[in-house]
């Protein structure tokens, strides 16, 4: 697949570079363009129906008024004022900033750990395992946890980390600690652990894919030119893995930003997340308030993604 796409790349570039010579050719090009629009239409319609329209509705509702049992279609900015209540008055951090800050912290921690682990695993499978059959087997092995639901994978940690759980009992039996460590469960640690456990595979897959596309002769050339293993890794492999890293990062960051189940279960519901705020408002029929929060969240995620694509031009790298 990778070879095919590389070979396909130069063709449109060449077509674009060719000057429009004869009028007959121009007509043909126009027809082709029209055909291209038709070909894109089904996906565009799906996007319109299931993405653009709901998003527009969410945006619209976020400006509506509401009471206990109905939403009232009249324009108000109150929902946004409520979201940012107390945020610009100084003093203590407001709920929204505090929540986003906590979410951001989880994003960074989860991203750093999944990247570190994901890159290492992918590197091992791509460069240290020689036989391609073994590579496939090991790669599939990474996806096996996905055969169970992520809620179950998460809940499985609870008996392990609890006050009277396996880890605490083990530590005490070994004489390493005298009292159980409470911070193992229902804490930031537990949340990050679950995030890393759940999301590392989203890093492994795209990075592994990028690594497999690296021309092995480049590595030989680096070695011939006298580069050490670290230099090869840092100056050849990492730059060539950038698209994989960027895609994996986008996966992990968006998953963590929108998550409220993991934070809820592993944080003992004591840790705020934007998703949870939205969920509580939805369950109390405060749809406009929830919509306003969703729009703010969307903005925040878009900013993060925009920042990432600034660093790496995904379309060029692919």
């Amino acid at each position: 697949m990778s070879l095919a796409s590389e070979r396909a790349m130069p063709v449109p570039a060449a077509a674009a570079a060719r000057p429009a010579a004869a009028p007959g050719l121009a007509a043909q090009a126009r027809r082709q363009r029209r055909l291209a629009y038709w070909q894109a239409a089904p996906l565009a319609l799906v996007f319109l129906a299931f993405f653009a329209v709901p998003l527009a509705l969410t945006l619209m509702v976020s400006f509506w008024e509401y009471n206990e049992y109905e939403i009232i279609p009249s324009f108000t900015l109150q929902n946004y004022a409520d979201v940012f209540e107390g945020c610009f008055s100084g003093g203590d951090l407001c709920t929204t900033f505090r929540t986003y800050l906590s979410t951001l912290k989880f994003c960074l921690l989860a991203w750093a750990f999944t990247l570190g682990i994901g890159f290492t695993v992918a590197y091992f499978v791509a460069f240290h395992v020689r036989s391609s059959a073994m590579q496939t087997v090991l790669f599939l092995l990474c996806t096996i946890p996905f055969w169970t639901s992520n809620v179950i994978r998460m809940i499985a940690w609870i008996p392990l980390l609890g006050r009277n759980g396996l880890v605490n009992d083990g530590l005490m039996a070994l004489g390493l600690t005298r009292a159980p460590i409470d911070g193992l469960l229902y804490s930031d640690f537990a949340v990050v652990l679950a995030f890393v456990h759940l999301n590392t595979v989203f890093m492994i897959v795209p990075i592994f894919n990028s690594m497999m596309r690296i021309d092995r002769s480049l590595l030989e050339a680096a070695r011939d030119a006298g580069a050490s293993d670290w230099q090869t890794l840092w100056t050849v492999i990492v730059p060539l893995c950038k698209p994989g890293i960027a895609i994996g990062s986008i996966f992990v960051l968006t998953l963590v930003m929108g998550d409220f189940v993991t934070v809820g279960v592993m944080g003992g519901q004591q840790i705020a997340s934007v998703g949870k705020v939205i969920q509580v408002q939805m369950s109390y029929l405060q749809f406009p308030a929830a919509a306003a929060n969703a729009v703010v969240l969307l903005g925040a995620v878009t900013l993060v993604i925009a920042g990432l694509t600034r660093l790496i031009d995904l379309r060029r790298e692919l």
Binding site: E68, Y69, E70, D82, E85, T95, R98, T99, S102, I158, P159, G162, R163, N164, G165, D182, L185, Y186, G264, G268, Q269, Q270, I271, A272, K276, V277, V280, Q281, M282, S283, Y284, L285, Q286, A289
Partner: protein, 424 residues
């Protein structure tokens, strides 16, 4: 669309039903499923609490009505009633939700004359009394929202009318659950929930409208403040309550918050918490795992809740009749006894009593020591002979109710503050 199709097929089907009934329903098992399932199906929306397979089986047996459960969480029940009023035929809702359900106009007042045991429904609902003694009515006490001014009215009547909002199914008095084996001393007040002695081992439920009531019970017990109505706080009172909660949270008082039944069971059974807000069957479940757990009566009283059947405005014809049949059946004793045996209370006590063994009634309702082993509806032993029910008799427990689950006028503000508390 589905509705109109059912309507069109009505005459033919009801004829067939009549014929099938005459032939005896057992005789037609060889017919296609559509015929076997011919009797009306009622889509029953509610929390999983009252939705037992045993009840559905018994209804099928007694009335031939098929009950199709739609189990969701409390908040989701209200959401469905307001946003998808055609997705169910009968709803089992909490009384406190009525303040937002009735104005939506999606539920209809029920005709009390069609409910056979209507006048036997316990005065807890109709008058707010237990044995002639007034009980606490702070919050959304059922008596405040029991009657409607008219069948299609959205206003609650202050005096009895023939139009009832919800026909009660179950109710109970909630308090704190504790682990007596780990606490090792008597607990007698709500204020113990925030006692630093239990730092990192306490929990409160993360359902804002109920959690804040438990918090208010604590604040009052600490002697900080006495609310005119815990179930309907002013903004200042909400701020004051939340401040206490936030301080406790920052000091590390809470191990976790819980949102559903099983979470509360796991927290308590695993020893993560030793004191927490809890629901009665959750305490039973912890005990059935062999772990000591007490549903501790407290001197400030209980926080009560009640649920009942409501009917959507669009219900008509055979389904409407079936719904009334089902409700009448529900009040006629078997279901009441079934619920009483789980530690809930049933709406019509005398019919339930007739379906219970005298020793069961004495244990569950009169607060007497069990004369023999108390069994759950599935036959497992819940309590050994000689044990006593936590909190005692019906009169002692329901008579000591201090407040009811509620929806406040400042609900939106309260939810925002609750989110602030979670983020603190």
């Amino acid at each position: 669309m589905t509705d109109s199709r059912t309507q069109a097929g009505l005459t033919r089907r009801s004829l067939l039903a009549g014929a099938a009934g005459a032939a005896g329903s057992q005789a037609i098992t060889g017919f296609p499923a559509i015929l076997a399932a011919e009797p009306v199906t009622l889509r029953y929306l509610g929390t999983a609490v009252n939705q037992s397979g045993d009840i559905a089986r018994k209804v099928k047996e007694d009335l031939g009505i098929t009950i199709e459960y739609i189990p969701v969480v409390t908040d989701e029940v209200s959401k469905r009633v307001v946003t998808q009023p055609n997705s169910f035929d009968i709803v089992d809702s909490e009384y406190f939700s009525l303040k937002k359900l009735m104005p939506s106009g999606n539920l209809v007042g029920m005709d009390a004359r069609r409910i056979k045991n209507a006048d036997k429904i316990t005065p807890v609902f109709t008058k707010g009394e237990v044995n002639g003694k007034k009980i606490g009515d702070q919050g959304t006490a059922p008596k405040k929202v029991f009657y409607l001014e008219g069948q299609n009215s959205t206003k609650f009547a202050t005096s009895p009318t023939e139009w009832v909002t919800l026909i009660p199914t179950t109710y109970n008095a909630d308090t704190l659950g504790i682990r007596p084996d780990l606490i090792k001393r008597p607990i007698s007040s709500w204020k113990e929930l925030l006692n630093p002695e239990f730092k990192g081992r306490a929990s409160i439920l993360n359902i804002p409208s109920i959690g804040i009531m438990d918090a208010a019970m604590v604040v009052e017990a600490m002697g900080d403040y006495t609310y005119p109505d815990k179930g309907n706080m002013t903004k200042a009172e909400i701020d004051r309550t939340m401040k206490v909660l936030i301080e406790a949270k920052r000091a590390g008082q809470f191990r976790a918050f819980w949102q559903d039944f099983n979470e509360s069971v796991n927290l308590m059974a695993s020893g993560e918490t030793v004191i927490q807000s809890m629901w009665s069957p959750a305490v039973t479940k912890v005990r059935s795992q062999g772990v000591a757990c007490t549903y501790q009566p407290l001197k400030e009283g209980y926080r009560a809740w009640a649920t009942g059947f409501g009917l959507p405005k669009t219900l008509s014809g055979r389904k409407l009749d079936a719904a009334y049949d089902f409700i009448n059946w529900f009040l006629s004793g078997w279901a009441g006894a079934y619920l009483n045996r789980q530690g809930y209370y049933s709406a019509v006590l005398e019919t339930a009593k007739a379906q219970m063994e005298p020793y069961e009634w004495a244990y569950w309702m009169e607060g007497k020591p069990a004369a023999q082993d108390i069994k759950a509806p599935d036959g497992t032993v819940m309590e050994k002979a000689g044990s006593l029910r936590d909190g005692g008799s019906f009169e002692q427990r329901m008579g000591a109710v201090a407040c009811w689950n509620s929806v406040m006028d400042e609900n939106t503000y309260m939810i925002r503050k609750w989110n602030e508390f979670i983020a603190a």
